[in-house]
Amino acid sequence: MHPIDTLLARHRFRAIELLPWLIAVAVYFVFGDYLPLGSQILIMILFALSLDLVLGYAGIVTLGHSAFFGVGAYAAGIYAAHVSGEPLSGLVLAACAAAVVGWLSGLVVLRTTGLTLLMLTLAVTALLAEAANKAGFITGGADGLQGMDIRPIFGLFRFDLFGRTAYLYCLAVLFLAWLFARRLVHSSFGRSLIGIRENTARMHAIGSPVRRRLLTIYTISAALAGVAGALLAQTTQFVGLTVLGFQRSGEIVIMLVFGGIGRLYGAFVGAGIYMIAQDQLAKLEPAFWYFWIGLLLVLLVMFARGGVLGLIDRILRR
């Protein structure tokens, strides 16, 4: 095959890419009791996917991505509690709010690189967390935001006690986000992000507006993270300060590294394995489960750089 065709073929849809969706649909029918956990996993996959766009593709090393998750969660939560319980407009609002925060913070944060950038992303999250804490009259502060009454989707599908609607709702949103992200990373824009990750100096030297490209993807990623946060708020009808916590920022990085960064599907594998492991380990060893997560991560980083997907890649190539 001609090299051009080979390269174009790499961007074409492959059957294996259907696998996560088949599993997600199968889960709905087989593990009906686990759907609330399933929804949580789908939400974290979306969050990890948004992180992959900036961390995996554009090479922006951030430890503050929960800022946008949290802004989305609070935006959707406050909207539902005080304005309207209509879920889809809540999602759109959350995406817009997170995008604005992403764009504004990106203007400052993306002027830096490396450790400085890392610290600034942390600082943004810390600022927002403290603001949410202080603004208790609207966010509920440390008690959390309650009193949301989410109306049926399209006025038809009521959120039920077993989490069936919530699961399908999250799945549909994740699917759309994935379609969008997939198209994005395979576009010329997506390729130029990889170029920036691989060699920023050369991207400048070939006339690429590097800063603008980074700001664009940072804003898009923030919006997607905001949608993930909004899904959490709407499906649990509660928003606590932990959505803006440093721990969530760290965990999502761990999940993504676990699955493999810059691969689009690392988010699915990483968040899936991590959340299930966490659930199972917490049952087996309620006090000690973080130890095993830590051990698993150490082993993975030592012996399987590129995460689970990187490992599979290497085994297949042999």
């Binding site: 051009i4 006339g207 690429s208």
Partner: protein, 250 residues
């Protein structure tokens, strides 16, 4: 005739250290010009000033007659100023074809395109591939750059710059670090550069310089010592003193 590239009284100081001192320099369309000088003469500094990596302390830079002194690096590139790097500055994890296509894509103005049009992508890939064929590295189109031998990486370095279709091309020591057995390939490529590109080459290898250049500028301690034809430069006593008097640099 308007010069393809011109610097007027270009000056750069870092504190008390003057690294570019009142440099008047002119590159005509289609020029084959070499910039030589001992280590630390300020050759790479001059390239960085022209490309906009560092701002000058004083002076002006004109590209095709337009003042570009205040323009950011990326805008200069889009106006036709291409460069290569002394130390390979490549997208190491990507294939050779993808490396070149990043540049071709930016040149076509689709680098920020989020809605993929396969036809546009194919045009870019075809442009990139044609370039690889011209530089005879098409066999390695799908090889990740980091797996290539150094000499071929140098060719990718040039290919990326050519992907921008520059009117002015600055080659910063294109043969640096290349084993002598492979230098001939690089020389061929440089000699076959399109005639309408004005080329400025910075090089230590005198054989390469004298084979390639129709004019030579000698830079010493940030100032232009002399400019002339290769024959004039070879015969100049001051140049001999700079090069031979304080030991060999070339």
């Amino acid at each position: 005739m308007t010069a393809a590239l011109e610097t007027i009284g270009l000056h750069k100081r870092f504190g008390a250290l003057i690294v570019a001192n009142d440099i008047h320099f002119r590159l005509d369309a289609g020029a084959r010009h070499a910039l030589i000088g001992p280590n630390g003469a300020g050759k790479t500094t001059l390239v960085n000033l022209i490309t906009g990596r560092i701002p000058p302390s004083a002076g002006r830079i004109l590209l095709g007659g337009d003042d570009i002194t205040a323009l950011p690096q990326a805008v200069r590139v889009r106006r036709g100023l291409g460069r290569t790097f002394q130390i390979n500055t490549l997208f190491r994890g990507l294939s050779v074809l993808e490396n070149v296509c990043l540049a071709v894509g930016e040149h076509h103005g689709i680098g920020g395109d989020m809605l993929r049009s396969l036809a546009a992508r194919r045009a870019v890939l075809e442009g990139g591939y044609a370039l690889l064929e011209r530089l005879r590295i098409a066999d390695d189109a799908l090889t990740p750059v980091r797996e290539l031998p150094y000499g071929r990486q140098r060719l990718v370095e040039i290919a990326i710059a050519l992907g921008l279709r520059p009117t002015v091309l600055l080659l910063d020591e294109p043969a640096a670090g290349v084993p002598s057995t492979e230098i001939a390939i690089i020389l061929d490529v440089i000699e076959q550069l399109p005639d309408d590109i004005a080329v400025l080459i910075i090089e230590h290898d005198m054989e390469l310089v004298f084979r390639f250049a129709r004019r030579i500028t000698v830079l010493v301690q940030g100032s232009v010592l002399i400019e002339g034809t290769p024959a004039e430069i070879a015969a100049d006593a001051r140049v001999r003193e700079v090069y031979l008097g304080e030991g060999h640099h070339g």
